[in-house]
């Protein structure tokens, strides 16, 4: 523990003032506003707010469109996270060797991190384009099924899943490779001498030893796919076709900004607040982060 060395009555307050001002004005006050707004709905003429208690939440959880959006989000987030991690772990396990050029590979794997989800979505949109895209073109040799994301919900969902997995992939792979390289070769060799096969060594040693990395990547990817994929949906599918790709964040934005249902949108924000709080608690509890004073 470090000693506080300087003494000054007002200076520390001046130093934290900008941070506090922004935190209060743009985080706490609006978050409080979301909670407050979630208890009201706009009058028919939109000129005043009517208190409805938990009415918005009741409406939300009774609304099949909202429940569908919730289920889509959960499916989307789990597929993006699990497929992304499984693929990265698989390739990292095979690629785990003391080789030259790791720094170069790392650069060549990490650059997609710099591309905005929305921009990444536009690159993939064209690859998936039903008329000109290379993917439906190649698939047309294999099957007569029309992979048209304008019409088929699951194809549109696949498009945004592929975009999200692609964007996170290099990052996941780089972290798994780092984790694997940290495992002592001697441990694996000892197991090998004891007659453990490749699969057994992986399940009994490698995977458990990697669990901190897996846990870290899991929460990171879940948070990413829940909260940072708004741009993909907005720029590419706009929630469609129908509401097949209407993820929770997109729906909260659309109901508020386009539907002008302020109370309903705020109630959705409050639900998201619960989700993000759970993810943050999970992250800090299990990742043993030192946040205590």
């Amino acid at each position: 523990m470090k000693r506080a060395v300087f003494r000054n009555r007002w200076l520390p307050y001046a130093l934290v003032a900008p941070q506090l001002a922004i935190t209060l004005a743009f985080f706490f006050w609006p978050a409080f506003g979301s909670v407050r707004l979630s208890l009201f709905r706009a009058s028919p003429f939109g000129d005043r707010l009517i208190f409805v208690g938990l009415g918005n939440f009741q409406r939300l959880f009774g609304d099949t469109a909202y429940l569908r959006s919730a289920i889509t989000s959960i499916i989307f987030s789990f597929i993006v996270t699990l497929v992304g991690l499984a693929l990265a772990l698989l390739l990292a396990s095979f690629a785990n060797a003391k080789i030259r050029g790791l720094a170069l590979y790392r650069s060549l794997l990490l650059w997609p991190y710099g591309i905005a989800p929305a921009t990444a979505g536009i690159l993939w949109l064209f690859i998936f384009h039903p008329s000109y895209g290379i993917l439906p073109y190649l698939l047309s040799f294999v099957t007569s099924y029309q992979f048209n994301w304008f019409l088929k919900g699951w194809v549109a969902l696949t498009l945004i899943i592929v975009t999200a997995v692609w964007k996170q992939f290099g990052y996941n792979l780089a972290f798994y490779l780092a984790g694997l390289q940290a495992i002592e070769a001697s441990v694996l060799e000892a197991a090998s001498v004891d007659g453990a096969g490749v699969v057994r060594r992986f399940l009994a040693i490698t995977f458990p030893l990697l669990s901190p990395v897996t846990f870290f990547l899991f929460t990171l990817n879940m948070t990413f796919s829940f909260f940072d994929t708004f741009g993909i949906v907005h720029a590419v599918t706009q929630g469609g076709p129908g509401d097949a790709t209407s993820l929770l964040v997109y729906k909260a934005w659309k109901d508020g900004f386009e539907g002008l249902q302020l109370g309903l949108s705020a109630a959705q924000s409050v639900v998201l607040m619960v989700v993000v709080t759970m993810l943050t608690v999970l992250q800090f509890r299990y990742a043993e982060r030192k946040v205590t004073y």
Partner: protein
């Protein structure tokens, strides 16, 4: 865990070049990494190729995977059609202000928290921590209200100031300051230096590596932010590049989709953050490891 990752070569600048065993694993690792790199790069390669073709070439089947010669005209068209100059300027202003502002504000509050004792310090610390649980999606409508009541819609203030509070950066500086020996501050005091002088002449120079690492991460984050600029700007000339790109994507309509121009625009939008990552690779990796959200 971050330290472990940093020590293993893949996420540090140094890479072990000496190899103990030149086994088959090495060759397999190279094959897998090369394939991953190529597959990962394909969408970008495809976008670059399309951006050099005519509309006819870009929309013909089978798709051509070879570059054509219409680079200049496509990029000029994209530049004019999307008013790319203005969009890129907006993105640059926003990203630079957010990155610099976040670093400055976080550094000041971390300085106060580590080097001073003051009433309410614990409270300040937890308030900053709680912002982690309040990402933009949980306060969509109410933040918009705050920004519009300040008259900040369609301004650079609105685009950047509310994003300048940062728990991650504050924690990072706090951790770092705590590793600096107390004797430095005591010596500075004996020499008659006040706290601000100490911050300016000693702490900031010592923090340059952390500042550079944070700068890369924060610049990329702000450049790629989507929901925020979409919310707080309504006029085309105040949009950021990532959001403005969406306006070019054809939505049904009878207009001939100029995919070559869209891809040229997408390339211009994605180059700045990717270039920052590539050219500041070392700091980027340090930033990823240290912030790891």
């Amino acid at each position: 865990m971050a330290r472990a990752l940093a020590d293993t070569g893949i996420v540090t600048a140094e890479v072990p070049t000496r190899r103990r065993r030149r086994d088959r694993g090495g060759a397999l690792a190279h094959v897998i990494l090369v394939v991953s790199v190529v597959v990962l790069a394909f969408p970008l390669y495809y976008a670059l190729v399309i951006s050099t073709q005519t509309v006819e070439q870009a929309t013909s089947l089978p798709p051509s995977l070879l570059p054509s010669t219409h680079v200049l005209e496509n990029y000029v068209t994209a530049w004019r059609k999307a008013e790319m100059g203005r969009l890129l300027l907006n993105s640059a202003v926003m990203s630079l202000s957010v990155a610099v502002g976040k670093i400055a504000i976080s550094m000041l509050s971390a300085f106060a928290i580590v080097y001073f004792n003051f009433w309410g310090k614990q409270l300040v610390f937890w308030m900053v921590f709680v912002t982690l649980m309040l990402p933009i999606p949980v306060r969509i409508m109410s933040t918009y209200e705050v920004i519009s009541s300040l008259g900040w819609i369609n301004t650079y203030w609105g685009l950047s100031v509310p994003l300048m509070a940062s728990a991650t950066a504050t924690f990072l500086f706090r951790q770092f300051f705590r590793t600096i020996p107390d004797s430095l501050a005591e010596a500075a005091q004996l020499d008659g230096a006040g706290p601000l002088r100490f911050l300016w002449s000693i702490l900031i120079p010592l923090s340059m590596a952390n500042i550079a690492a944070l700068f890369v991460i924060l610049f990329v984050y702000a450049w790629n932010e989507y929901l925020w600029p979409l919310m707080v700007t309504t006029r085309g000339e105040m949009r950021t590049a990532v959001v403005g790109l969406e306006a070019l994507v054809p939505r049904g309509g009878s207009e001939l989709p100029q995919w070559n121009v869209i891809m040229a625009a997408a390339t211009m939008v994605l180059i700045p953050p990717v270039a920052v990552i590539v050219f500041m690779q070392r700091w980027f990796v340090k930033g990823l490891v240290e912030t790891e959200k």
